[in-house]
């Protein structure tokens, strides 16, 4: 999805930097090789970006202008809730949900195009006060949870798996909003996806709350 956009906008002083929030050893490498991206792909096992930008899920994106200023804080990057209503055996999505999912994606990509071409004149590049109003709220428990996550990663690297897993569980308990933390402690299915029954139970427990927060853009479902 990002490769085509990157190529399309390469002449507009625009780049994609994709950051893999994978913590298991070797995990993102086959995916990167398969995608052959020409934009930078970085690996963030310790979830430093989550700490620095308040990221809680993937895909989330931050827009940063030429001078290093945040013009859109962390928000879902064109992702929508439609998957919650898909058939979990056949993975088929009801027509309306598929339509909204496609709409979220195209709205978001068009917004990026507008920003890449028009810079600060784009209505999607938020002015300072608006950008501040969109900053994610971070609690002190969340900050402690991120420290625990980092501790867990250091213990994983030393082969101290059992204790590392305990810290991930504790971090997730303190910071339940972070799917990035939870998924690192979750089981994965035969496709390598954390989409086992425990994932669906956690998604269902959200009730009417969003899995991907609504992106504040005209036309976004």
């Amino acid at each position: 999805m990002w490769q085509a956009l990157y190529e399309e906008l390469a002449g507009h002083r625009f780049t994609v930097i994709a950051v893999a929030m994978d913590s298991r050893d070797g995990d993102p490498l086959p995916w990167i090789e398969a995608a052959k991206p020409t934009y930078p792909v970085l690996i963030d096992r310790d979830h430093r970006l989550a700490e620095l930008f308040g990221i809680v899920n993937v895909p989330q994106a931050v827009w940063i202008d030429e001078s290093g200023r945040i013009v859109r804080p962390a928000e879902p990057a064109g992702a929508y809730e439609g998957f919650r209503r898909m058939n979990r055996q056949t993975r088929e999505m009801p027509e309306e949900e598929a339509r909204l999912t496609a709409q979220a994606k195209s709205t978001y990509l068009d917004a990026i195009r507008d920003w890449a071409r028009n810079g600060a004149r784009s209505p999607y590049a938020l002015a300072a006060e608006q950008a501040r109003a969109h900053l994610p709220a971070v609690s002190e428990d969340a900050a402690t949870a991120q420290a625990m996550f980092r501790l867990a990663q250091a213990l994983f690297r030393r082969g101290e798996r059992a204790e590392a897993e305990r810290w991930i569980r504790e971090a997730s308990r303190l910071y339940p909003d972070s799917w990035c933390i939870w998924r690192q402690g979750a089981g994965v299915n035969e496709l390598g996806l954390a989409a086992l029954p425990d994932f669906w139970a956690r998604v269902d427990a959200l009730g009417p709350a969003r899995y991907y927060a609504r992106v504040d853009m005209p036309g976004m479902p």
Binding site: R13, I43, I112, V138, R150, L151, L155, A186
Partner: protein
């Protein structure tokens, strides 16, 4: 030997003496890992000085050593450690993170690509950056 994870990276601190709640380090090692130095006016990092709690000074600074865990609690920042005390994380508080983000200056970071080459966000100054997270899961 204690491994200390701070904002600036991973530090091996040979002379650290960890206990369940304290992490006493030689002043020089504490400074190398965290930037904090004991001065007459209190504990200082760069231009910022924090007075020691009156009457409890020796809980933080004693005989040329600093208890980094006590300092971090005093600063209101998260500190966690492994059960054996061989790995410690000195984190940043939500208050500080939020204040940094409110400046809207994107915090810099350094992360490796699959070949091991380290990229900094600041290397891309002069371009618009779509910084996007993903994962194989």
């Amino acid at each position: 030997m204690v491994t200390l994870l701070t904002e600036t990276g991973e530090h091996e601190v040979a002379g650290a003496e960890p206990s369940a709640t304290a992490l006493w380090c030689a002043a020089r090692e504490a400074e190398e890992a965290t930037g904090w130095v004991a001065k007459p006016e209190g504990l200082c990092r760069g231009p910022v000085c924090v007075p020691l709690p009156a009457g409890r000074e020796r809980e933080l600074v004693d005989a040329g050593r600093i208890d980094l865990a006590a300092l971090w609690r005093h600063l209101g920042e998260p500190v966690v450690h492994s059960e054996r005390g061989h790995v410690w994380v000195l984190g940043r508080s939500a208050r500080e993170r939020t204040a940094a983000l409110a400046s809207l200056e994107a915090p810099d970071f350094a992360l490796p690509d699959p070949t091991g080459r380290v990229h900094r966000l600041s290397d891309y100054r002069g371009q618009k950056v779509l910084l996007v997270t993903w994962a194989s899961w």
